[in-house]
Amino acid sequence: MIGSEGQRHGFGAVGLGLLAGATLVFLIAPVVIIVIVSVSSSEYLSFPPAGLSLRWYERFLGDPSWGRAIWVSIQVGTLTMLFATSLGILAALALIRGTFRWKGAIYAFLLSPLIVPTIISAIGLYFLVARVRWMGSVLAMALGHTVLALPVVVIIISATLQGFDERLEQAALSLGASRWRAIRKVTLPLIGPGVLSAALFAFLTSFDELLIPLFLSGVTSQTVTVKMWNTLQYWMDPSIAAVSTFLIGVTGAILTASALLRRQDQAR
């Protein structure tokens, strides 16, 4: 580290620190302010708030259409999590363990959804789904999200597998276990935290997604993000701040859980 020998001091360093600090404030302040606005009593989305109130949460949680939207998001997210994680484990195992020729190309192919702008895959799916009359389906949305979540899952689980000592599995094999038993009893528990972390990120990827559900959801199957989008088209309802805080909370919970899992992994 450059600064570890005390070479960063003087006006330049103070200026750098201020600039960096300002940028960090720029990054984190909006999130904090939204949470504060969500408990403000004022109608006008002003900050600092005139008073405190939970009315926006009452409006949000008391509205059944928001409850339906949350339920749709949860369903789609859970399905995405299941699909992406199971497919991703298999793919990562093959990529890390395998010695076949097109590994690099296949890896690039698995990551390609990260490169294509989401609007393009969204309208592509829309054309497909409209043609087979599959509009508004939770399953269709989940499959669309799985495509987006798969690269993330593969990256995380590949990294986990790379840190996994194969000799442990081979030791089990040499002691007479069948390959499947060795995987089940040795490999899977040890890569467990990494897999769980990948699963959580798959869920989050789906939960946060707006473009694909924007095209694929029907009137009764809106996700939370789509409902936010539709509401914002017409007015700046302060209860959106409560919804936003809810989504921020989900993100925070998942990031915290993932960090804890990683620490558990490193402790081994």
Binding site: T23, L27, V31, P117, L125, M236
Partner: protein, 293 residues
């Protein structure tokens, strides 16, 4: 001892070899899902852009026939360039600062960068809609400090779009720059000091050039991602702040002009892929995503 090592090697080889036929089998489900729900839809878009009652290029021609569409494409490029520049100006000092703090502090500060990164784009955009409103925090502060005498218009114009997009894309820039900067050997800078260079000279001659892959990689990444942006410009822009992705959505949902929308989408895809190809030539592909080369 050697016999044991040889035996282990044989077991390893045999374990790997024996896996080979089932490896492709393990990959098949993931590949199938990608092909059916990603490749096939995207190919469908490409097909739709050139085929309607026969093969035609009319939808591509339409893009250049009206100044409206050319303006949209130009505005998209301009916005992407400005956002990239701003992200670079804000992100470089932050990344540089992060390399100079201890590992524990770096991890905490990194968490502050990453947390908004994992929040939904619509939440992040909405936060700025609240902050930049007439009675929002920014205007209230400016009025209270006496900098302005009446609220400024930050929303529903290009300014709002730039602020919103910068906010969403800045983590990409910071992460890419930081990962490159972390790989720069501090001894090189120290060596420059030891032969008499001032801190600024050492930075300019040694550190800055070595961080160039991060600048190019981060810049390309932010630029390419900006091209495809939809949510932020749609919510924070005015009626004339239309970017390609917004136009695509309009042509699909409003005018139901699927073929023209597809042509626009293919144009966007081509620009994106060209950008990534260029990026992978200039910089290592790993670094584009913030990994270590």
């Amino acid at each position: 001892m050697q016999a044991n090592a040889r035996a282990l090697a044989t077991v390893t080889e045999r374990a790997r070899e024996a896996w080979r036929p089932s490896h492709l089998g393990l990959l098949l489900p993931a590949l199938l899902i990608l092909i059916v729900f990603f490749v096939y839809p995207v190919l469908g878009v490409v097909y739709r852009s050139v085929y309607r009652n026969g093969f035609t290029l009319q939808f591509y021609q339409k893009m250049f026939q009206s100044s409206v569409y050319v303006t949209v494409i130009w505005l998209t490029f301009r916005t992407a360039s400005l956002v990239t520049l701003i992200c670079l100006v804000l992100g470089y000092p932050l990344a540089y600062f992060l390399t100079g703090v201890g590992p524990a502090t770096a991890r905490i500060l990194m968490a502050l960068v990453i947390f908004p990164f994992f929040t939904s784009v619509i939440v992040r955009t909405y936060s700025w809609m609240v902050l930049l409103g007439r009675s929002g925090f920014v205007n209230a502060s400016l009025l209270a400090l006496g900098v302005t005498s009446e609220p400024l218009r930050f929303l529903h114009n290009q300014t709002g779009v730039l602020i919103g997009m910068t906010y969403v894309l800045l983590p990409f820039m910071v992460l890419t720059l930081y990962s490159v900067m972390r790989g720069i050997d501090p001894d090189l800078v120290r060596a420059a000091h030891s032969v008499g260079a001032t801190r600024f000279m050492a930075f300019r001659r040694i550190f800055l050039p070595l961080s160039l892959p991060g600048i190019v990689g981060g810049g390309l990444l932010v630029f390419i991602l900006s091209l495809g942006f939809f949510i932020t410009p749609a919510l924070m822009g005015g009626p004339s702040d239309v970017m390609i992705a917004m136009l695509i959505q309009r042509e699909v949902e409003l005018t139901v002009n699927w073929s023209f929308a597809s042509a626009l989408a293919v144009a966007l895809l081509a620009l994106t892929l060209a950008g990534f190809l260029l990026g992978s030539r200039v910089v290592g592909v790993n670094r584009l995503f913030g990994g270590r080369a």
